[in-house]
């Protein structure tokens, strides 16, 4: 008659396995929490970077608005580029709702093609 010592098998396999599992579980939780914290730090750094870029964007927007002001453009145009504001007699008015072809294209009043 052979007797198997069940308590011995339990101690030999399951106790160490349980210890390993518990340790693994503990380390997993610690690792997970640590990873989450690392991600939070990364997001925080990205937030700071985003704020920095937004700050720069606002500065650039203000600078652009300043540079594109009509006063600034005019002083640049009339100064360096020697441009002049067009005289109304030299402006060609294009009517969007008119005929497709020019009906008057001469300073002598010649009618090139009819309306």
């Amino acid at each position: 008659m052979t007797y198997v010592n069940r308590n011995g098998i339990f101690s030999f396999f399951f106790v160490p396995l349980a210890v390993v599992l518990i340790l693994f579980g503990i380390f997993s939780i610690v690792w997970l929490r640590s990873s989450v914290r690392t991600v939070e730090y990364s997001i925080s750094a990205l937030d700071r970077e985003k704020m920095e870029i937004l700050r720069e964007r606002k500065t650039l927007l203000a600078e652009k608005a300043s540079l594109l002001s009509i006063q600034s453009v005019k002083s640049q145009g009339s100064g360096k580029l020697a441009l002049v504001f067009p005289d109304r007699t030299k402006v060609v008015y294009v009517k969007k709702d008119g005929k497709s072809t020019p009906f008057k294209a001469s300073l002598e009043g010649r009618q090139l093609s009819g309306p």
Binding site: S44, Q71, T89, K96, D97, L107
Partner: protein, 566 residues
């Protein structure tokens, strides 16, 4: 051996029991207290950064934006060497080191050192690593166009609190309540992401003002002020059909970026806060009332040959003798005598009635702070001579905007519009939260009367009219000159040196795109509206019509190239 094992076991058991009891103490009995303590250490309350909404012109060009800056504060008790710190910081900021030292040596645990420092300067100070100094993120309102439309946009104070203009009137839309958020931080004080946007933005305001037209108006206003050495001047440009203010300029003006340094007279929004006697521009009242009531027709004659007329004991003069004038000529030549005669025919009740119908003596309702109503006394309080004085624009106080609105009524067929400077307000995401809705517009005169009076006003800028200097090549204009004396506060009588010259009108006369008033206060060398204000009207109108691509009306007769397309 066994005895020692028992002692060891007992010690271990006691140890575990002690740990267990402590855990019960921490986690059950005093959980609340320790939890609060931990929160205080780990969580930090931070202000949500409040940013005002942006201000745009009608074409979406930025007129008011925000800059991200930082404000420097100190805890004087924590500064080791105030003198050294004051010297170092003032070297970077360029401020007086003694004033800086006074702040560093003051009592209290929180003292503002310098508000709204730009990022580069802040970084330099941070690198100095001076203990006791700290920074708070802040926003600075910035108006990229400087003085442009300053009296419309307004300004904010050091804490971004609204002070003037649209900034004040629409403050509830532009500002945002803000609040606080909790931010987690570690033992080193580094913050962890909350995932929440810590910036709260106000709504964006879109004005009816056009930057281009505003620039033209301000440029010509400055030129006119310099030319006539005037104490002040005003130009308002409005769409006479809708009441949208296209340009709104007062001189002298100020730069809202440094509003705290501006003088009071520069901040005054004369177009709506200052009253003046309108002079001949007020003849619109007796003129249109007489037509509406059928008292006169265009050919009705008035004998103005004496050059003066007596009313209730006072004598009203023309600047020169005109002879016999038709009703049309009375307006065209701006005859005081003729206008007084028309006013006398109307009677004081009807003159008063039409003055009120044209909106005088009450606010126009423009959406800017500080508007005054002006005044016109009820007929019961008029003196015997008042009918003559009021007919020619004396004994009444009006604002330039009221006069412009009255002439806009003539331009649009007789309806009083509501002038406004804000067309729409949108959230930062672009959702519209406010749109200007015109209230029921009051009719001042019939369409027919407005048409007839418009034709008379057209003659003012033609040969023989007082406003010939306002005529714009290529387009018909309709308008009226005005010259009024200013009451000298010392003598309480009309000054013989101080005048207000004005011109108000609209162009193109038959299909009005812009209505405009030019008022020049106390010009030197010339006094008449036709001489000082009409040319300014012309210069502005000419450029404005080009800017708006309004075609000339004389293309056929002048053989000007016109191209049409679908």
């Amino acid at each position: 051996m066994r005895k020692r094992a028992i002692i060891l076991n007992t010690a271990i058991i006691f140890g575990f029991v002690a740990v267990f009891l402590r855990l019960v103490d921490l986690m059950v009995l005093n959980h609340g207290r320790f939890s609060e303590k931990a929160k205080i250490q780990q969580l930090k309350q931070e202000d949500i950064q409040v940013r005002r909404g942006l201000i745009y012109d009608r074409r979406g060009r930025e007129l008011g934006v925000n800059l991200e800056v930082e404000s420097l504060f100190c805890d004087p008790a924590a500064i080791v060497s105030p003198q050294k710190a004051a010297y170092s910081v003032s070297e970077v900021t360029g401020k007086n080191p003694e004033a800086m030292l006074a702040k560093f040596s003051s009592k209290g645990r929180f003292v503002w050192v310098e508000r709204k420092i730009n990022h580069e300067t802040a970084e330099k100070i941070k690198k100095m690593d001076i203990k006791g100094l700290g920074f708070i993120p802040d926003a600075k309102r910035f108006y990229p166009k400087g003085k442009l439309a300053a009296h419309v946009i307004g300004a904010v104070g050091i804490d971004n609190q609204a002070l003037e203009g649209v900034e004040l009137k629409y403050n509830k839309f532009l500002k945002t309540p803000g609040g606080k958020i909790l931010v987690a931080r570690d033992a080193k004080g580094r913050t962890l992401s909350t995932g929440v946007d810590i910036e709260s933005k106000g709504n964006n305001v879109i004005l009816t003002i056009d930057e281009g037209l505003q620039y033209i108006a301000e440029k010509e206003l400055d030129n006119a002020m310099a030319q006539w050495r005037a104490t002040a001047a005003t130009v308002i440009m409005m769409n006479p059909l809708t009441g949208e203010i296209l340009a709104f300029a007062n001189g002298p003006a100020y730069d809202p970026n440094s509003a705290s340094y501006a003088k009071d007279f520069e901040k005054r929004n004369r177009a709506i806060t200052d009253c003046y006697e309108p002079g001949s521009t007020f003849k619109i009242i007796v003129g249109s009332a007489a037509i509406e009531e059928g008292i006169v027709n265009l050919g009705t004659k008035f004998d103005c040959s004496k050059g003066a007329v007596s009313v209730g004991g006072s004598v009203i003069h023309d600047s020169h003798r005109n002879g016999v004038l038709t009703f049309k000529e009375v307006i065209q030549k701006s005859s005081n005598v003729g206008s007084t005669m028309v006013g006398m025919r109307l009677g004081k009740e009807r003159v008063y009635k039409y003055a009120k119908l044209f909106g005088f003596g009450e606010k126009t309702g423009i959406d800017l702070p500080g508007e005054v109503s002006g005044w016109i006394r009820p007929p019961a309080k008029w003196s015997a001579g008042s009918i003559g004085a009021i007919s020619i624009g004396q004994e009444v106080a009006v604002t330039p905007l009221q006069v412009l609105r009255a002439y806009s009524a003539i331009a649009n067929g007789g309806v009083l519009v509501t002038p406004h400077v804000v067309s729409e307000i949108r959230t930062p995401d672009g959702v519209s939260v406010y749109k200007f809705m015109s209230k029921e517009n009051k009719r001042a005169v019939s369409k027919k009367t407005a048409g007839i009076f418009k034709d008379i006003l057209k003659t003012v800028a033609e040969d023989g009219g007082t406003g010939k200097g306002a005529a714009v090549e290529g387009n018909h204009i309709a308008g009226k000159t005005g010259t009024a004396q200013i009451i000298d506060p010392r003598t309480k009588r009309y000054s013989k040196e101080k005048y207000v010259g004005s011109f108000v009108g609209f162009v193109p006369a038959d299909k009005p795109m812009i209505a405009m008033i030019v008022v020049i206060y106390e010009p030197k060398g010339q006094i008449y509206g036709g001489a000082v204000a009409a040319p300014v009207f012309k210069k502005i109108a000419k450029q404005a019509l080009s800017y708006l691509n309004v075609p000339r009306e004389d293309t056929l007769e002048k053989n000007i190239l016109v191209v049409e397309r679908r």
